[in-house]
């Protein structure tokens, strides 16, 4: 059974994944799967903040400010990214 996510969860890069920002883009190497995942500049911005242990709601506010979008849109996009990164094994809840 899946545990209920914390109301304002923290995430971190999976210990078996590696992440680098190259010229604004984010690159994950998923070591176990032997796959590479590229995320765009907004994705890289979000993952860099996850690495700093920033909680999700704070990240969403920063995305909203930085990219001049409303909080609802920033939140939906950030959560969609996080869901896909969790599914790929690139990040995990910390």
């Amino acid at each position: 059974m899946m545990s209920t996510p914390a109301p304002n969860p923290h995430y971190r890069v999976d210990p078996h994944a590696r992440f680098r920002v190259l010229d604004g883009e984010g690159i994950f190497v998923l070591q176990k799967a032997g796959e590479v995942l590229v995320v765009n500049a907004v994705g890289a911005f979000i993952v860099e903040r996850l690495e700093r242990d920033m909680p999700l709601d704070e990240i969403i506010r920063e995305v909203s400010r930085r990219y001049d979008v409303d909080d609802a849109r920033a939140g939906a996009d950030a959560r969609a990214l996080i869901d896909s990164l969790l599914e790929a094994g690139a990040i995990q809840e910390s």
């Binding site: 590696r18 920002v21 690159i27 190497v29 590479v36 590229v38």
Partner: protein
Amino acid sequence: MSYADTIKRSWNEHRLMNALVELTYACNLDCDFCYNDLSLERETMLNLAQHKALLDDLASLSVLSLTLTGGEPLAHPHFFEIGTHARALGFVVRLKSNGHALRRHVAKRIVDEIDPFIIEVSFHGATAATHDRQTRVPGSFDRLMTNVKDMTALGLRVKANSVLTRWNESEIEAMFDLAETLGVPLQVDPEVKPRDDGDLSPLALSATEGGLSQYARSVARRATKDGTTLLENVAAARRESKDGTDKHCGAGSNNVAIDPFGNVLPCVQWRVPIGNLHHQRLTEIWRGSNRLDEIRETTRAARTMLDALGDPGLAANFCPGAAHTHHGDALALYPAAEQRIESARARVRLPVV
């Protein structure tokens, strides 16, 4: 943007992505054709603090892939400290080892402390007689087989590398079969290289024409897909990999190598120092070396030269570094590249049935 596009952009914009660090030239085997320039061992090796500073610099440049090699990297007294530091800095670590020291407990420690992406080991034959003849250490084949099995059982990704020689060419099919049985991919370099100091004597071990043909047939049998010939596949893949960049390779553009004595090289094959870590930090060398500009210009010239040859040029597997070692000229065709070009020309002249 795809990862392939990212790599091309790193070539074009000189964004360092890959670094190879030769930790030591010490080795527990004694291979006949070892390419290391052992005369350099008179020079001062980098110490642990310098290695850590190098890794810090590479991380600050956003380098993603770090290869630790030698000699035998495990023979370095601070191998685990360096590997652990690399892991902490988030590199994708690749270990290139002869595999002899990778006993189960050592492999387990590597998993726990370094968590490498892959370990590449050296595979010199399908039998103990052939492998041990190359390594000049009796028992090394049996030990490698045990170590590979133990590493894969631990969940490590293992790859076998081999150089085709006249000693192992008759076993090439058996080597592929053995690798398959072990569950590891086998990459064969059909070309024995000169030593890094330019000594051509290892070339005496080069595979014969018959051995090269047998190798080509083995590879073709395993690689043929969708009814296309191997040459078409190779040419198409190489053309695609170079589309969107004007360079032949990433030497000095997204790639750098460092020898145990701090010499910074544009690539492990291209042994022309562009600086030395005893005198400068890597970040300073990377941002300010005039020699790097010359290297990058040479990779553009190599591209122009090979493009003029068409598909056979793509099939040449030309290496400017090997050309420099052979002739002192990174643009001069050397015998193995010339042979591949001729072979490709002969194949494209064959009628398609």
